[in-house]
Amino acid sequence: MSTRVRIGMLRLTDSAPVVVARALGLFDSLDIHPTLSIEPSWANVADKLTYGLLDAAVMLPPLALASALGLRGPAAKLIVPMGLSQGGNTIVLGGEAIKESAGLPAGARLLAWLAGQQGRPRIAVVHRFSTHNLLLRYWLSLTGVDPDKDIETVVVPPEQVVSALASGQIAGFCAGAPWGVTAEMAGAGSVLLGTSDIWPFHPEKCLAVREEWATANPEALTRLLRALMRAQVICDKPEQADSVVAALADADGLALPREAARAALPGGSGHEQIHFHGAGAAFPAPPHAMWFLRQMRRWGWIAPETNIGTVARTLYRPDLFSLAARMEDLFVSPVHSRNFEDSDAFAAGPASEISTLPF
């Protein structure tokens, strides 16, 4: 039975699994026929998911969590049944001085750059509840910089960060591909490091689905996940990059610039490459949700008494992922398929791993 599903996304390279599934007929082959909606802002995606104008969306995990917690409007009833991508963002600082420290460790470069700034430099991120912002703040803190006192964070749409940096409206940014490399080529700034340098294979975009739609259409949801899994496998293959780029550049769709899109795909030439399938990119791991939630609590955005374990378990649905993955004969690790509730080992999660990194 054919089911209506409206999927929202932004004009970004990591929307690839959805547009590739459409372009290569993967949705059709599983008899699911989504309407794709290209949205201008994350706030639009979150509002439309909340009020039922979208059924699913390519989403920032922290924003999905913030929406579910009611941190930006009414609490939205969402689920995250799969991850869509890993990595792909870069931290860029502007000005001439940063060029002189090339070759030094990123942390040392940051501190030298900060010492030369007048007042609190403004660093742009794409949304407050973004992977970009949380990983930037995490790294700044590791380096001894207070993200609330030593810098000022502003939100600037990704497509505007390079011009904002060139005009001096901001002093630096953390944004997705291709804007870091674009800024460097325009002479506006220098790429300091990628977010995968901070947390290798960090979850970047996920699929957020309205709980109401998922409950009413369990079979369609499974087919949707299967089609996206097939697309992810294709997106991860460098030899398929041409067809992925063609889908991303489609003038009637995302209309992304070809070269810039290619640079951020596997086998590309950018500072960071996005991963879609390998290293568990598709798995909606509750420990990842826990890491984001712990960071949000750390910055005082979540009330300390909130039971973040319950939030992570309610939102992230590895059970739904595993159901679809088995039908696709994709390997589901026994660790991943274990009941999250029973595992204290997960409570430490990625935070303990990455705090031992030499940054």
């Binding site: 409206r6 929202g8 309407t35 794709l36 909606s37 290209i38 201008p40 802002s41 994350w42 706030a43 639009n44 979150a46 509002d47 439309k48 009020y51 039922g52 104008l53 979208l54 913030a66 009611g70 941190l71 930006r72 409007g73 009414p74 609490a75 794409v126 949304h127 407050r128 509840f129 000022e152 502003v154 939100v155 600037v156 749409p157 497509e159 505007q160 904002a164 409206q169 489609d250 009637d252 769709g253 955005w301 009330a303």
Partner: protein, 234 residues
């Protein structure tokens, strides 16, 4: 939590420490000059409302700091709307949280405003303006412009298609020496036989003519209703 309660109750808990005039300051962030002008006119009819506009190219967050509005009305097509999501405006040492206006009791109203493409934010820290009538007026006007635009697009498409059909008929009359009614019947018969629309068949005739003049070019791909891209959620 603050956001879970009705906005009126939240705002009522703030002390009356406003030392500006009593007028409600509305920052209208809409790059559509005609629509923004019309909405300004509608809202200005209420003398207690002051309408402010951001400067061209100004970051939305900067405009909020510079103009100190009580309410921000934003065109949802603006990508910089994200700047207001969950951020606090730090002005004169006192952070003023910005909160999306939500009518918890009236989800249909919220859905209508979002569908129309306008959202409203309250800048907390001052006594409560009554936001719902303001957002209702904005949503009505945005919806009106949306309908007008889609009607205009449909009219343009119809005109363009008529033009294509006329050109195809002219080609058939010239090259196949058909009479005009026969040319039209020819297009209609082909359309019915292939299950396509007359303007699409006409487009092929026109494209074929172009290709004949410029043999180096590849023929345009067939346009069928099946491969036209589905657009937008609503």
């Amino acid at each position: 939590m603050l956001r879970r309660t009705k906005i009126g109750t939240i705002l009522a808990t703030f002390s009356l420490n406003d030392n500006r005039t009593a007028a409600v300051r509305i920052l209208l962030a809409d790059d559509d000059a005609a629509r923004a002008g019309a909405l300004t006119k509608v809202l200005s009819a209420d003398a207690s409302l002051t309408i402010l506009r951001p400067r061209p190219g100004e970051l939305l967050a900067d405009a909020v700091v510079a103009l100190a509005p009580d309410v921000v009305l934003v065109d949802m097509a603006r990508p910089d709307r994200d700047a207001l999501d969950g951020f606090r405006v730090v002005a004169s040492n006192s952070p003023r949280p910005i909160v999306l206006f939500v009518d918890q009791d009236d989800p249909a109203f919220m859905e209508e405003a979002i569908g129309a493409g306008v959202s409203s934010y309250n800048v907390l820290g001052v006594p409560p303006p009554d936001v719902k009538p303001i957002l209702r007026a904005a949503a009505a006007l945005f919806r009106h412009h949306q309908i007008a635009r889609s009607e205009l697009r449909q009219a343009e498409t119809r005109l363009r298609e008529q033009e294509t059909v006329n050109r195809a008929k002219a080609i058939l009359i010239r090259d196949r020496r058909m009479a005009e009614p026969d040319a039209y019947r020819w297009l209609r018969t082909r359309a019915m036989a292939s299950g396509r629309r007359i303007p699409d068949v006409a487009q092929d005739v026109v494209a074929g003519e172009k290709q004949a003049k410029d043999p180096g070019r590849l023929n345009a791909p067939e346009r069928t209703p099946q491969n036209t891209h589905e657009e937008g959620a609503q």
